[in-house]
């Protein structure tokens, strides 16, 4: 194989200088001039209530107030996968903090002051704050109109219940397999809600100008999906897609929280209420916690049947998800997790019910890992319990059952090529598995834990990516994509992919954040799919440009195009060693013929990618028949912890993570995903936790009370291990990796705590307090 020049190299980020110099602009850094208006939100005080009356008269009298809008001004439903939301609450509120109306004013302080003077008269309804209440017989319905909601064909809502979607997986004969099992182990594991905590809050600025054009600047992972949903939701106002423009500057962290459409709909809608003037909605840190997507809570009952030798032959999982007040995005988390909740194992007989349950808590939605972190906590904890009871080494148990290429997936498809066994072997060696370690401090215990992971992108079957590639006079390149730079390094890797094809170094390639008027379509930057999907689009745009270059050289100079190749930014010929033509000499100007005329013109590459082999159509009772997932990325992770037996405090001397990335396009950026993802995952298990009071109000919506890790909380040593079993349809064999580095953290630490202390904690988070109390009571 030819040596790559740019692919596989740890190129420095092409946005590095913008970010360390302060030049990178985020939504709140953009200047909209003295005409800018500010909106403040009138929010629900109750988790569940009927709105009887809204009195805005007092607020309207505040000087500086320009306009007040409420639900009656926007009676339009919207949602990504299910239309179960309104822009503002209509007759009913379903969570504390839900938007009821907005005050638009000359300045933010006035808007906020006036919003507090809007009087809302409610009739409080019983609030449903957990899945048990929601699933109880005769439970109040949070969405009585569920049967009328428009949704994607792969959702199966249960009318007249609080079940918004039920994903059922049935493979093999589970009942028979349990009868044939030598051992059956069943347990229940719970995971609370979590917050993304991007350091930048959500924001949107909308301008509906007097030519009827709506421009919305958003902090977003999904500019095109936003444009589409804005167009759908605001269609009654006469807006079409071409009239709507979404511009996304750099975003200060996404992690799924800025995917889809949450508060950004307010920027679009409010702009139409104050035509001709820009209006800004910027969330406070508290709103960021309680009125964006949250990671959904999960109660997982897991039942596993095995033969004496440790072969898993049956699994029956019931996953009840606390999906919150609206599930327009979150129901797809439930769906994706349901399809894969048997983990990276080859299990012939599987039954899974993944249940999306409405509650009166804030809307659930995508969060790095998309449901996999949640079910893997239970599954990977449970496998260790099984190994202990069967006296099998937990790594041996996993290796024995690990899924391999060609094994049948839960929906009937075949598992892709993967390096799972290699990952297990390398992690086992690096963490010195089997070597018992004791602390010199008698108050401290050392333990080791392992967890495997897998995840597939969760995408509609027609999710696609596209790219334009423009050459400039000096041979430099601008690439236009709508994949979003959310910190992962997408811009850099896209430049590397084009560089490899066109032999133009990445530092001569500029890739910028999207503007839907200028940059071509991308579905969304989610699911760890853009390196793969958008990468394929960029690769094909570069190939398209290269073919145009060869075409011009052939037409103008009579060179046989089959002999032509690119090297060091020049066209060369395999049959004529003396021929060399610099790209910058003709990629705009063309090539001059002896008669003075020119051949050629600006080189403009176009690329597109859609995974045409996928399908979401399958039997609703079994999930058999479709091909919902494009591929799985797999890996293994292990940790060594030191626990203080008295305080329960956990220190992490070492953590190892091996992930099969297919091909590491930029190893340094992958290592960045590993160090970052691990710490984010470790925090979910050791201290983060959303706490709601008995009225459904979030009581820790700030960084004082919801602790995220600081530089003092990092593991002493992190060993990233990159495995490369190529993904045949990926750019240079690459597959996604962004989410995967977070998802094994919770169970591997739970397993390490058990190894250190002999204590199995089955509910996240595993705080110092919980450990200390468990030690005391054991």
């Amino acid at each position: 194989m030819e040596e790559n020049k740019y692919i596989g190299k740890s190129t420095v980020r092409i946005d590095g200088k913008a970010k360390v110099s302060g030049a990178a602009e985020f939504i709140d850094d953009l200047d909209f001039g003295p005409d800018l208006l500010y909106a403040a939100i009138v929010e629900s005080k109750f988790a569940h209530a009927i709105i009887n009356k809204i009195d805005t008269s007092e607020a309207e009298n505040i000087p500086g107030v320009v306009k007040i809008v409420t639900g009656k001004d926007f009676p339009f439903r919207f949602g990504l996968y299910m239309h179960d939301r309104f822009i503002f609450a209509q007759d009913r509120v379903r969570f504390v903090g839900e938007q009821i109306g907005a005050v638009i004013a000359r300045d933010a302080a006035t808007a906020l002051k006036a919003a507090k003077l809007v009087r809302v008269d409610y009739t409080e309804l019983p609030a449903i704050l957990n899945v048990e209440q929601a699933l109880a017989k005769d439970a109040n319905l949070i969405h009585p109109e569920l049967r009328h909601y428009k949704h994607v064909p792969w959702f199966f809502p249960k009318s007249d219940t609080n079940i918004a979607h039920l994903r059922k997986v049935r493979k093999g004969d589970v009942e028979k397999a349990f009868k044939e099992s030598d051992f059956i182990f069943e347990d229940t594991y719970t995971v609370p809600r979590y917050a993304h905590c991007a350091i930048e809050v959500h924001g949107a600025v909308g301008l509906y100008d007097n030519s009827d054009r709506l421009t919305v600047w958003t902090a977003s992972q999904s500019p095109y999906t936003q444009r589409n949903l804005f167009a759908e939701a605001l269609a009654p106002l006469g807006l079409s897609h071409k009239d709507i423009r979404v511009i996304t500057p750099f975003i200060g962290g996404g992690f799924g929280g800025k995917a889809g459409v949450s508060m950004e709909i307010l920027g679009a809608a409010l702009a139409t209420a104050v035509k001709g003037r820009p209006v800004k909605v910027l969330w406070s840190r508290a709103q960021e916690f309680y009125n964006t997507y949250q990671r959904q809570g999960l109660t997982a009952r897991i039942k596993v049947g095995l033969k004496k030798d440790g072969t898993i032959i049956a699994m029956d999982n019931i996953l009840n998800w606390d999906a919150g007040a609206y599930v327009e995005y979150g129901a797809n988390v439930v769906n994706a997790a349901g399809l894969s909740a048997s983990g990276p194992y080859n299990i012939p007989n599987v039954s899974i019910d993944s249940v999306c349950v409405y509650t009166n808590l804030p809307p659930g939605g995508p969060y790095r890992g998309f449901g996999y972190s949640e079910f893997l906590f239970g599954l990977e904890s449970h496998l260790n319990e099984i190994a202990k009871k069967m006296k099998i080494d937990p790594i041996q148990l996993r290796r024995k059952n690990a899924i391999r290429e060609g094994d049948i997936l839960n929906y009937g498809g075949k598992m892709n090529a993967n390096g799972l066994i290699e990952a297990i072997d390398k992690v086992e060696k690096e963490i010195e598995w089997g070597k018992k370690e004791t602390s010199s401090d008698p108050n401290k215990a050392i333990g080791k834990g392992i967890a495997l992971f897998w995840k597939a992108p969760a995408m509609p079957p027609n999710a696609s990516s596209s790219a334009f590639l423009k050459f400039n006079e000096d041979g430099s390149i601008n690439i236009l994509i709508s994949g979003m730079e959310i910190g992962q390094g997408l811009l850099t890797v896209m430049a590397q992919i084009a560089a490899e094809v066109l032999t133009v170094p990445p530092e001569k390639i500029r890739v910028e954040t999207p503007d839907t008027d200028r940059n071509p379509y991308e579905w969304q930057t989610v699911g760890s799919h853009v390196t793969w999907g958008c990468g394929r689009a960029v690769e094909s745009a570069a190939i398209d440009a290269r073919e145009q270059i060869f075409d011009i050289v052939e037409r103008a100079l009579g060179k046989d195009r089959k002999s032509l190749y690119l090297e060091n930014e020049s066209v060369k010929s395999k049959t004529d060693n003396n021929f060399s033509l610099k790209l910058c000499d003709f990629i705009i100007a063309g090539i001059q013929k002896p008669d003075g005329s020119y051949r050629g013109g600006p080189i403009l590459g176009r690329g597109m990618f859609m995974p045409e082999f996928t399908s979401a159509l399958s039997d609703p009772e079994t999930s058999q028949g479709g091909h919902p997932n494009v591929h799985y990325t797999v890996g293994a992770s292990a940790v060594k912890i030191e626990v203080d037996k008295q305080t329960g405090k956990v220190k992490i001397p070492k953590v190892v993570l091996a992930v099969d990335v297919g091909k590491a396009l930029n190893p340094d950026l992958i290592n960045g995903q590993i160090t970052g993802g691990l710490l984010q995952g470790i925090a979910t298990v050791l201290y983060e936790d959303m706490r709601f009071n008995n009225k459904g109000k979030l009581i820790n919506p700030n960084f004082t009370d919801y602790k995220i890790p600081t530089s003092m909380d990092i593991p002493d040593e992190i060993v990233p291990i990159i495995i490369e079993v190529p993904q045949p349809d990926g750019p240079s064999g690459a597959r996604g990796v962004g989410e995967h580095t977070m998802i094994p953290c919770a169970p591997m630490i739970a397993n390490a705590v058990d190894d250190a202390l002999g204590i199995r904690i089955k509910s996240m988070p595993i705080t110092a307090e919980k450990i200390a109390l468990s030690v005391k009571h054991s």
């Binding site: 740890s10 420095v12 980020r13 946005d15 590095g16 200088k17 913008a18 970010k19 360390v20 110099s21 302060g22 990178a24 602009e25 985020f26 709140d28 850094d29 200047d31 993304h196 905590c197 991007a198 350091i199 930048e200 809050v201 750099f250 975003i251 200060g252 962290g253 996404g254 992690f255 406070s284 840190r285 959310i486 910190g487 992962q488 390094g489 340094d668 950026l669 290592n671 960045g672 160090t675 970052g676 993802g677 691990l678 710490l679 984010q680 700030n702 960084f703 004082t704 995220i708 890790p709 600081t710 530089s711 003092m712 990092i714 992190i718």
Partner: protein, 151 residues
């Protein structure tokens, strides 16, 4: 009652009238256009609004503008009189930042550390950065970049 304050912003003499309740962060961003300090939490938890007053880092969301009367305020913009600093270059070389939102505050905290202590050990670096939250990187690549130029 508005009050005139005079201070230096990254070397430039500034005189302007502020309300006593105006916060330094707002004045820097909205009235003077210094956008590198960002608002992440508005209560001193996250450190993205970090600026220097007389060489010491502060959370500008917790400082009233009138307090900087007669002081020297430096934002990230003010570090780059002769181009990127060696520290900034090291951050680029190490791909230290991902989304980059925390970078301005983080760089000021690291700059303050290196002004006081040219050979900090890893623990001292961790302590110096502990008031600046980063959700993307796991801090390690940031610490590595600082260690690289102090060895």
């Amino acid at each position: 009652m508005r009050q005139e304050i005079k201070f230096k912003l990254s070397g430039e003499a500034i005189a302007l009238e502020v309300n006593p309740n105006e916060v330094l962060l707002e004045v820097l961003r909205d009235r003077l256009g210094a956008k590198s300090p960002k608002c992440g939490c508005d209560k001193g938890d996250c450190g993205t609004c970090t600026v220097m007053i007389n060489g010491k880092t502060v959370r500008s969301c917790l400082v009233l503008a009138i307090e900087v009367d007669g002081q020297e305020v430096v934002t990230l913009e003010g570090l780059m009189d002769s181009g990127l600093t060696p520290l900034q270059k090291s951050f680029i070389e190490h791909n230290s930042f991902q989304c980059g939102f925390c970078a301005p505050g983080m760089i000021l905290s690291a700059t303050e550390l290196l002004a006081k202590n040219q050979k900090p050990n890893k623990h001292e670096i961790q302590e110096a950065l502990s008031g600046n939250l980063c959700r993307c990187t796991g801090y390690t690549p940031i610490i590595d970049a600082i260690e690289a130029i102090t060895k």
